[in-house]
Each structure stands twice: as C-alpha cells, then as structure tokens.
Symmetry: C2
Subunit: 195 residues, 2 copies
Amino acid sequence: MEKSVETRAQIVAAADRLFYERGFEHTSFTAIADAVQISRGNFYYYFKTKDDILAAVIESRLAATRRMLQQWEAEAPEPMGRIRRFIHVVLDNGPDIRNFGCPVGTLTAELAKLDHPCRPAATALFTMFRTWLGCQFAALGREAEANALALHVLAFSQGIATLSNALGDENFVRREVERLEAWLDAGASSRSPHQ
Amino acid sequence: MEKSVETRAQIVAAADRLFYERGFEHTSFTAIADAVQISRGNFYYYFKTKDDILAAVIESRLAATRRMLQQWEAEAPEPMGRIRRFIHVVLDNGPDIRNFGCPVGTLTAELAKLDHPCRPAATALFTMFRTWLGCQFAALGREAEANALALHVLAFSQGIATLSNALGDENFVRREVERLEAWLDAGASSRSPHQ
DNA sequence: GTCTATAGACCGATAGAC
DNA sequence: GTCTATCGGTCTATAGAC
C-alpha cells in the first residue's frame, strides 16, 4: 500500500513534467510509463484513462501552488513583498519558461483548443493566483479594485512568459519585470496611479 | 492549373482555421480534407507532409499580416492611431480570442513544445508585429526605446489574450485595453513616462 | 497521348484502452 | 499482452481537358 502511493506520485510527477515540456496531447502513455520505468500494464493499475492522469496532475499542481503561496506568505509578511514574489517567478523559472512557457497558461490554452473536460480544473489554477493576489491588494487598502489589479498582474506575467518563450530574450524579461515592479511601487503609494 | 491554385488556397485556409481552433497536432489530415470536401488522396497531390501544410499556413499568415499592417497604415496616418489599431485587435477579435486565444501566441507555444522545425517561421509572425510597432514608436521620436516599447505592447496584448481565453471575461479585456491606451497616451506626451 | 486533378485502397506505426 | 482505431504517408488507377 505504501509502495502504491509512492508509485502513483511518481507517475503524476513524471506526467506533470512531460505535459509541461511536450504538451498534454503530445505525451503518450508509453512516454510516461518509460519515465517512471514501469510497464504499461502496471500503469493501468493506477490510472484507467489519460484524462484521469491529467486530472491528477492538475490536482497535484493545485496543491503545489497552494503550498507555494503559503510559503510566500511566510517568507514575506508584507503584501508588497508577496506580490513582488509572484512577479519574480518569471525570473526564477527563467530557463523553463523560455523553453516551455508558463505551465498554467500553456495548459489552459491547450485544453481550450481540445475542448477538454479538465479545462475548468486548469482554469482554477489561474483563479487561485488571482484570488491570492487580490487578497494582497486588498490588504494594501485597494479592496475595490483588488480583483482588477490582480488580473492585471496576472495578465502582465502571462505576456512576459509568452514572449519569453517565443523570443528567448532574457533582457526583455528583466526589463518588463522592472516595469511591472515600478507600476506596483507607484500604485502602492498613490491612490489610483494607473486609473 | 487555375483550379489547382484555388483548391490549394482552400486547403490552406481550412488548415489555418483548424490549426487555430484545435491546435496543429490535434488536427488530422482527414479533418482538413473533410473541411475542403476533397478526398485524402487528392489532398496529397497538393501537400506531401503535414509539415508542408503548416509551412504554407504560416506563410499565408505572414502575408495576411503584412496586408493588415499596410491597411492600418493607410487608415491611420499617425503612429498613435496605428498603435491603437493594434491594441484594439484583442477587442475586434474578441470572440475568437476568448475561444481559441491569440493565433500567434498559441501556435508558437505549441510549436515550442513540439520542438517543431517551423517554430522560427511562427516566431517571425511575432517579429513582424514587433518591427512594425517599433517603427511607429520611432516615428513618435522614441527611437532609442522603440524596440522595448514595441515588445511591451506585444507582451501586454499577449497577456490579455491568454487571460481572455482562460477566464472569458470581456470586461477584463476592455479594462486592460483602456489601461494600455492610457499608458500609451501618457508615454507619447512625456519623455519617459514609465521609467 | 499526355498532363492535371481526383479518388481510394493500402501500409506500418502507434495511439489509447482493457 | 492484445485489441481496435486512427494516425501520417505511399501507391496506383482513372477521368477528362487539351
């Protein structure tokens, strides 16, 4: 029983990475099974369909994101520092994003095109960030616009990730991160700096 | 001969749309042939491999983009109006972007994950917009930062498109477009409005 | 009779599913 | 480990215009 839990986790971890690097559809059962070094027969003991794996991967990402946000909260007690933490993700994960884009953005885009049943679950990843960012802006006394500000930060980051992936220009990423930080700093001190 | 050119164009048009709506990999030969109402055998008379179709589709998109930019230049003689035209695309194509994302962004992201030989060609679509936007900013007297400003507008639009597709929130799109326009207006009057 | 365009049988490989 | 469907891709046959 202990072993089965571990194997399952390994499958999810391998699928998670492969879905990110190659895309969901382009990743075959065989590729996942090979990565975990188990037979395809054994594989079906854990997951019956490919959609089941995807659901598990998304659930795992949701849990991982929740943990990451909690850690950010612990490490940065002030809302500004927390938001800055989020903004810097695109720099911290620079190489991955340059190679494969944002894991959230690219997955939701793919599932939208596939009209996949797991699409809402993937969207929940976005919502989790939005809610969290919204809370930080609310804590800054911007309750009324908290959601809009959160979405702005989210969208800005997505744009950076997309172009980083397309052009591979690290300087561009740094420049835009600075721009977003400057916007953030200006906004925290004045009431409505960017209308 | 005349007929063949027309059929070829129809194939490219159908593939273009299907690649956009369903993604490149998820679109089969059969699906394209069905859309054009020709047999699969006839299909191979025009294109030998799937990559050939993709290359033709990208080339077609490049040509279409070139035409669109020229039209914008004709319709809006001033750089500011032209840039605004670009910014408004995300509103003009609202439903498509909500359903399928940005055609350029989602294609480059997919090809990056597939490590596809056509990836550079797809990136050229981005570069075409960047160059054009850069020219407009240069015409505004911002030669030194023209490229950076162009990339900012491009990234911002990509972010809007990604979140529009993920969340389907039309109000968000309008809000962010206004924000970007405000940034543009502020930037044109002052030397360096955003650092 | 040649050339263009079309159709459809057919192939090996591999996918997901059980 | 086997099954079936479908994938991208190849091949040949043929219909009609010139």
